[in-house]
């Protein structure tokens, strides 16, 4: 328990939390203004306003709130948790006490996972609050978005588990803390930035060469869509197209520009269907198993490791 509390306190340092909240808030403020001037101040139907808001909010959560900066920050912190103990030499003190090596890994991971869940949930709620106050959205849309929060938290539980276990494993596999962090940051940027950018050029080869098996953006997108689709909020084809550009799970008839969002209506685009190359339940099971195995492997590695 002591090790867990100590790790948790280290992760929840006030300056880290403030920096994190600030980064999250800046984008929400900008987005609040975009929604205000591009959606709510234009004469659009409530349904279009709702669909557009939800779509943008979902993209924001996937790419930003629980995406690039969030995962980079949490995995870097996770890697530091164990790597610092090795770097500062304090690991040799820890392993000489009666606390078991399994407990060391589990305490550190649990502290990281709980911090991830707390900060992730805080970010989801904070973003929604800022967008609400800045954009002046109607309480009807706000209520719809609030209803989507539990499903976003389910996704957070999933993605948090995968990335926290992977970062703990990475900190034990790679000796250098910097190298481990760079590896994880590269993976995250590949998933959320590089793959979406290049995916449109690879469509010809995508199915022939089974690229979806390596396309983590598609796999995570499919899982994300699985959770958000439980909100029973109908996404308009235009929103599906925009989501499709970032998440890459829809069969797109037409690629649309973001500017089209404000003027889009259901008549312009036909409804997109989800690309089911892979079964979402299999993916959920597979990734959960990967996370679980990462944790087991981390325990085994630390148990076998000579702490010199």
């Amino acid at each position: 328990m002591t090790l867990f509390i100590n790790s948790f306190q280290k992760l929840m340092k006030w300056y880290f939390t403030i920096i994190y909240i600030s980064i999250m808030s800046i984008v929400s403020i900008v987005l609040g203004f975009v929604l205000k001037y591009e959606i709510y101040e234009k004469q659009l139907s409530t349904q279009t306003q709702l669909s557009s808001t939800i779509g943008i909010y979902y993209i924001l959560i996937f790419m930003w709130v629980l995406g690039i900066p969030f995962l980079i920050m949490m995995t870097s912190k996770g890697i530091s948790l164990l790597a610092n103990e090795f770097q500062e030499g304090t690991m040799s003190l820890l392993v000489s006490t009666k606390i078991s090596r399994t407990k060391i890994v589990l305490s550190k991971w649990l502290a990281l996972y709980i911090t991830t869940l707390l900060l992730g949930t805080l970010a989801i709620i904070l973003n929604l609050s800022i967008i609400y106050f800045v954009s002046g959205m109607s309480s009807f849309i706000l209520n719809q978005l609030i209803q989507a929060i539990p499903n976003l938290i389910y996704y957070l539980l999933f993605i948090g588990f995968i990335f926290t276990t992977l970062s703990i494993l990475m900190s034990l596999l790679v000796k250098s803390k910097v190298l481990a962090s760079i590896t994880m940051i590269t993976i995250i940027i590949l998933i959320f930035l590089i793959i979406p950018l290049f995916k449109s050029f690879l469509t010809v080869y995508y199915e022939d060469y089974y690229l979806y098996l390596f396309d983590l953006n598609y796999q995570l997108g499919l899982i994300y869509n699985y959770f958000i689709s439980k909100s029973n909020i109908e996404l308009t084809p235009s929103i599906q197209n925009i989501l499709g550009m970032f998440i890459g799970i829809f069969d797109l008839d037409t690629m649309v520009d973001l500017d089209l969002l404000a003027i889009s209506d259901t008549a312009l685009l036909s409804k997109a269907s989800v690309r089911n190359y892979l079964n979402v339940r299999d993916l959920l099971l597979g990734w959960s198993f990967t996370g679980f195995m990462s944790l087991i492997l981390s325990i085994i590695i630390l148990q076998k490791k000579d702490v010199i």
Partner: protein
């Protein structure tokens, strides 16, 4: 219950092809201070880290008070002070000691009490609410030894506790260790290559080189074994004494010289010491010579070390 608190059997550690520790059978007596002496790279730290459970042996095993080395029960009996000063950069002295205390299984209140007690014991009051990373080497070392004592260990394992310290800090640390030995029911295992200071502290020594135990035993036994058989003698009539000595036990004597103070320095052949000491009594009483000084010249650990590692 075994007379030894720590025993190892064929303890071996290989790093790739390099044999850092090679089939050692270490025995550390209860309530004694055992010195673990060897040059840098001899395998002292690797052995210590195997005892504390940080490094896994390639072969062999060991027990601490009957519990398997590296096991939870075994580690609970140990207080370990590493050679380097290892601190958390964000913790003050008291936070650090309380944290280590809690990691070692103490309750919050007990850990705080124990930390305060150790701070007082080591004279660290001024450092209580400051971060140890900014302290002098001496202060850091005191904190490192304090954390090793926080769980009232049965065995205190100290890896080079006086390395890189100024003479004052060295003396302070050694005084504390001596005090600990007297006041507490504790066995101390201390590795060092500063032999002169170990000599005044330890009861037993183990000399270590290239991963192997070269010599082990009580300090007196070791000194006896490596004694050069030189006696410093002064009598009321040195000339007569030398004449009679040469007459009665010439075969035992290797060399006789006179030192600047006028004392005789008599070097005895190996294995001749017992006979020589027996014959002195009859000679002085028969020839009515008064014996003013009769001292066997002590051999220092430094000399033994040089003898072994030459």
């Amino acid at each position: 219950m075994s007379q030894y608190i720590i025993e190892t059997e064929n303890l071996t550690k290989n790093f790739g092809r390099f044999k850092a520790v090679d089939h050692i059978n270490l025995k550390i007596s209860r309530n004694k201070i055992q010195g673990f002496i060897g040059p840098n790279g001899a395998g002292k730290t690797t052995t210590i880290k195997m005892l504390t459970g940080a490094i896994h042996p390639t072969q062999g095993h060991g027990h601490i008070n009957g519990y398997k080395m590296g096991s939870k029960n075994g580690k609970a009996l140990i207080g370990y002070a590493p050679a380097e000063s290892l601190f958390y950069s964000d913790m003050t002295t008291i936070e650090y000691l309380v944290y280590i205390g809690k990691i070692k299984g103490l309750k919050q209140s007990d850990a705080v009490n124990k930390a305060c007690e150790l701070i007082q014991y080591f004279g660290l009051e001024e450092a209580t609410h400051r971060k140890p990373i900014h302290f002098s080497s001496g202060m850091k070392k005191k904190i490192i030894v304090s954390q090793a004592l926080i769980n009232d260990p049965k065995v205190l394992i100290l890896d080079e506790p006086t390395a890189n310290l100024d003479p004052t800090a060295r003396i302070q640390i050694l005084d504390i260790l001596q005090k600990l030995m007297i006041e507490r029911d504790i066995s101390i295992f201390i590795s060092s290559h500063i032999l002169s200071e170990l000599e005044s502290l330890v009861n037993e020594v183990t000399l270590f080189n290239k991963g192997k135990i070269v010599l082990s035993g009580s300090l007196n036994e070791v000194k006896q074994k490596y004694s050069k058989g030189i006696y410093k003698v002064r009598t009321s009539d040195n000339n007569l004494f030398v004449d009679k000595l040469m007459e009665h036990c010439k075969v035992l004597i290797k060399k006789i010289t006179i030192d600047p103070s006028g004392d005789l320095l008599i070097t005895i052949i190996p294995k001749g010491k017992e006979k020589f000491e027996l014959i002195i009594g009859p000679i002085i009483s028969h020839y009515k010579i008064s014996l003013i000084k009769f001292i066997q010249e002590d051999v220092s650990l430094d000399e033994i070390y040089k003898d072994i590692y030459k």
